[in-house]
């Protein structure tokens, strides 16, 4: 099964590299957003953050989350296309290969392609002035959170990818995810938000994830945030995985 998943992973990576639309949306758009946040809004935001804050560092976790959220929309789309009439799912299902390897190849592709996007965005941020004093363990912890977040959102994406009746149906679930970073501490401090918005912002998963990664990369104490972030990621993975496997089994 490992071999099969590997072959199918190679196939899906070709899809990504040959689809300019995917590359533009998952890598270029987040970079443009980052340029905008740093060079357009950055100056104004810094006035409330204080001059000693590096805003490239500050907004980077939020940009990464947006990139992953738009990346998993393509995970759902690729899975949807395979499940369609004329998709390869039926052919694979009638072949002597493990039936779960098709699904795992999509999950693996989602993880690897999103990590590639994350690395590209990190490199651009570095050019824009991102600096980190973090040690190797802090970097590993930050990477671990991003991997868990990608896995969580990937399993969420698998569900509409299998169940959707149309391409729009398969991908629209990602729009609310794209907005969550705006309703969090990803780009601006939550202190100036009205009460209701602020309560939501401070208790939704993006804030704890952003705060943890930010603290790790800036060598600051992470506090409880990292445990809250991990609980969110693992919780979403467990629930989404169970549901995704349920709808997948119904299809095979």
């Amino acid at each position: 099964m490992k071999n099969t998943t590997g072959v199918l992973f190679g196939r899906l990576m070709k899809h990504i590299l040959r689809s300019p639309d995917t590359i533009i949306t998952v890598a270029l758009v987040p970079i443009v957003m980052m340029l905008m946040f740093v060079y357009v809004f950055g100056g104004a935001v810094k006035m409330s953050l204080g001059d000693n804050v590096n805003y490239v560092n500050y907004q980077l976790p939020g940009i990464l989350i947006m990139a992953i959220a738009s990346g998993i929309a393509y995970t759902a789309m690729r899975l949807f296309m395979d499940m369609q009439k004329g998709g390869l799912f039926e052919r694979f299902s009638s072949m002597p290969i493990g039936r779960s390897s098709v699904l795992w190849s999509h999950v693996l592709t989602s993880l690897i392609s999103n990590m590639l996007t994350v690395v590209i965005i990190f490199l651009v941020a570095l050019i824009m002035g991102f600096r980190s004093s973090a040690g190797i363990l802090a970097w590993l912890a930050a990477a671990g959170i991003l991997v868990l977040l990608t896995l969580a959102l990937t399993w969420v994406a698998v569900i509409p990818g299998i169940m959707a009746k149309s391409m729009e149906g398969a991908t629209t679930f990602s729009y609310p995810l794209l907005f969550l970073p705006f309703l969090s501490s990803a780009f601006v401090p939550t202190e100036t938000m009205p009460k209701v918005v602020r309560v939501f912002a401070e208790n939704q998963p993006v804030t704890s994830i952003v705060e943890s990664i930010r603290a790790l990369l800036n060598s600051e104490p992470v506090g409880n945030n990292i445990w809250i972030a991990l609980a969110w990621c693992v919780g979403i993975i467990v629930v989404a995985y169970i549901l995704a496997m349920k709808v997948y089994r119904r299809r095979i």
Partner: protein, 252 residues
């Protein structure tokens, strides 16, 4: 074991609709067997049960001596399915599509296998073009070529010419006729009478969820009133005119 496929009393319902109400037929080894029926007669349902994509509600079916419900893995090792909608990967080239299937089937020399099939199906020139740019007939030929990898004993062709232009139809007919010589058992479904007449050794008519007639073309002809001799001027059909104009002669 003389029969490649044995179907006895096969039943299948979708919600309240009874699609198959006890289907019986046998296909001998090396035979081209046509399942003829109108849209919605249950042809695809039958093929999907035989290729282990669907589970039947009653009756039994075996392929190459293996029961489709109890030994689906064994069945999948011996069959190939060319579904109603060509299952090819539009992002990959023709050659890459063939190599993909060869690798998944664990063939020793995937590139060589791909090149041989490209040559045999007249796709060598388009080998390195993306399949998304192929014509309907080319896609179908590639689709069938992909089904031949690993030399399966039984090939299912579900409406192989539906949606093709007359030229593409002739290409596919030629391909299927060539396959017939190689000793492979072929079960093909079609809604076109002339297609069954052209390609099949034996024809079964599926109607109202049952096989209502089954035999060679000669046997089927005997079931009906003998032909009268009449003299009529044979006008060319529009298809004949079309093919004559574009310079292709139908091979009879």
């Amino acid at each position: 074991m003389e029969n490649a496929i044995e179907v006895k009393g096969l039943q299948k319902s979708f919600k309240d609709t009874e699609v198959l109400k006890g289907v019986d037929f046998e296909v001998k080894r090396g035979e081209i067997f046509a399942l003829l029926g109108s849209n919605g007669a249950g042809k695809t349902t039958t093929v999907n049960i035989l290729s282990t994509l669907l589970k039947s509600d009653g009756g039994s079916a075996s392929v190459c001596g293996f029961d489709v419900l109890r030994q689906p893995e064994k069945v999948r090792e011996n069959i190939s399915l060319t579904g109603q909608f060509a299952a090819v990967d539009g992002f990959l080239t023709g050659r890459e599509n063939l190599i993909l299937i060869a690798k998944l089937r664990g063939i020793q020399n995937p590139s060589q296998t791909a090149d041989n099939l490209l040559e045999r199906f007249g796709l060598s020139e388009a080998a390195n073009k993306r399949v998304g740019n192929y014509s309907g007939g080319m896609v179908r030929r590639l689709d069938i070529a992909m089904s031949l990898i690993g030399t399966p004993d039984v090939i299912f062709l579900d409406e192989p010419t539906t949606g093709l232009d007359p030229e593409g139809r002739l290409e596919v007919w030629k391909t299927v006729k060539e396959l017939a010589g190689s000793g492979t058992t072929i079960l093909l479904t079609t809604q076109y009478l002339d297609e069954a007449e052209q390609l099949a050794n034996r024809i079964a008519i599926l109607h109202g969820g049952k096989i209502i007639a089954n035999g060679t073309l000669e046997e089927l002809k005997k079931l009906f009133p003998s032909a009268k001799v009449e003299y009529i001027e044979k006008q060319p059909t529009l298809e004949e005119i079309f093919l004559a104009i574009i310079g292709k002669k139908e091979e009879k």
